[in-house]
Amino acid sequence: MATRQTQFLARALLTPAVGLLFIWMIVPLALTIYFSTLHYSLLDPGSESFVGLENFRYFLTDPAFLASLQNTLVLVGSVLALTILLGIPLALLMDQPVIGRNFVRLMVIAPFFVMPTVSALVWKNLLMHPVSGLFAWLAKLLGMTPIDWFTDAPLLAVILIVAWQWLPFATLILLTALQSLDEEQKEAAEMDGASALSTFIYITLPHLARPITVVILIETIFLLTVFAEIFVTTGGGPGLQTTNIAFLIYSQALIQFDVGSASAGGLVAVVIANIVAFFLVRIVGRNLEA
């Protein structure tokens, strides 16, 4: 029974966390909204003036915005596709009777724990370097011309690096879900003469629907803001070829020092992320009832 005293205590214990998160959410966001209506350049201090929605017009009609929006969508979409399409067979394979499964799992999960700056630089130099990289050597061994990744296919290179980092996450979640699948159901299907393929389509895949949704939503939240991998490999280039929205806003803020326009861009990013968050919160929220 909750007495008035415990209720009061409970509220008192909750307050610091709620208060801090509230300030953390409201103050910077309010400032971003405020800055987004100003002409405000750090290179030209003292010239701040109210410009209404001018920054949004500038940001949204800038060709760089469309290019970076497209890059963001391609990056998020490709990494999602790669991690899920490779994650499912990998998880299925690891769910089989494998000798030394725990060790295999250690190897598969490892990339997820590597800091983004390390994975990006190791891939860029040790693997993807057009002359001395391991991929170039392999290509020559097979009689092909080595690809100059960061010149000829920079976005693909970034996609591969990011996909390598997130494949373990997808695989681990799918594997966890597979292991909770009722073995007897599969057995019964097999006894009834169901082929492996139809067991997969009618029993396993529906069971994976929910974890796949969770993977998509959580990865999307992180992938929308991929930054370090671009920062240390391409710096958004060549041209705008690897500039995503996060990197565009960063370069407007801390390279061009255009606070107003960067703030408008920041709000655009917040709106995009909120659309995704809306769905994730609903799914997780449903889980709270259960």
Binding site: I99, I109, P111, F113
Partner: protein, 276 residues
Amino acid sequence: MARMATTRRVVVSTIGAWFFGFLIFFPILWMVLTSFKTELEAFAIPPSFLFFHWTTENYATVQERSDYLLHAMNSIIIAGGSTLIALLIAIPAAWSMAFSPTKRTKDVLLWMLSTKMMPPVGVLVPIYLIYKTFGLLDSRIGLVFILCLGNLPIVIWMLFTYFKEIPRDILEAARMDGATIGRELVYVLTPMAIPGLASTLLLNLILAWNEAFWTLNLSTSNAAPLTTFIASYSSPEGLFWAKLSAASTLAIAPILVLGWFSQKQLVRGLTFGAVK
């Protein structure tokens, strides 16, 4: 025994799983091997996989030239500090929501989760300017603060899902026996909550250690943790692959070990309890 595994099936799936596992792990292995090569051998084509002149001089050089230990210490302070402070704020909050829930508890939890969805880049400008005004740029305390706030929702969520699994009957029994809230917390809840606390601590340490948006944007040299330090190897004149590999190996080794210990909790923590 559920299904009889035929020998052939075991052999095929074992070979397959080991092959793909090795493939995924290979970039890390290659980095570790390169860290023991000389700079010349690191560039050499064809590359040598095992039969090169093994040397540890890169590790010594990394420390001498760029004060590796300073950045490692920064990482420890920033990741450790932000995690501990987040736990101190989150434990009471999660305890309160798990054991004295109100009608609004669910809304509060979901609202907390939604703060995590705000893309950091959306508030980069104000945070940068605030930090500049208060002299917090390139300071450890500034990074501790921002990583703590950034991870607080995850910490609260993880603790909440763990606390909720502690059987209520035990609490009621303790209350019947006249235990005060303080005693209940120390003698009943804490021992049962320790596994959950430990995995929350571990996962949050990993997330904070690898955080590379705020650390890259808000630190340059004095407070730079390993993420920022490694990024300095991206400049063209920094094409020292063996040294890059040595610095990288040192930077990821401790967290890789922690990560391997926490992989079970990882799924639960990162999916906010939606997949267990």
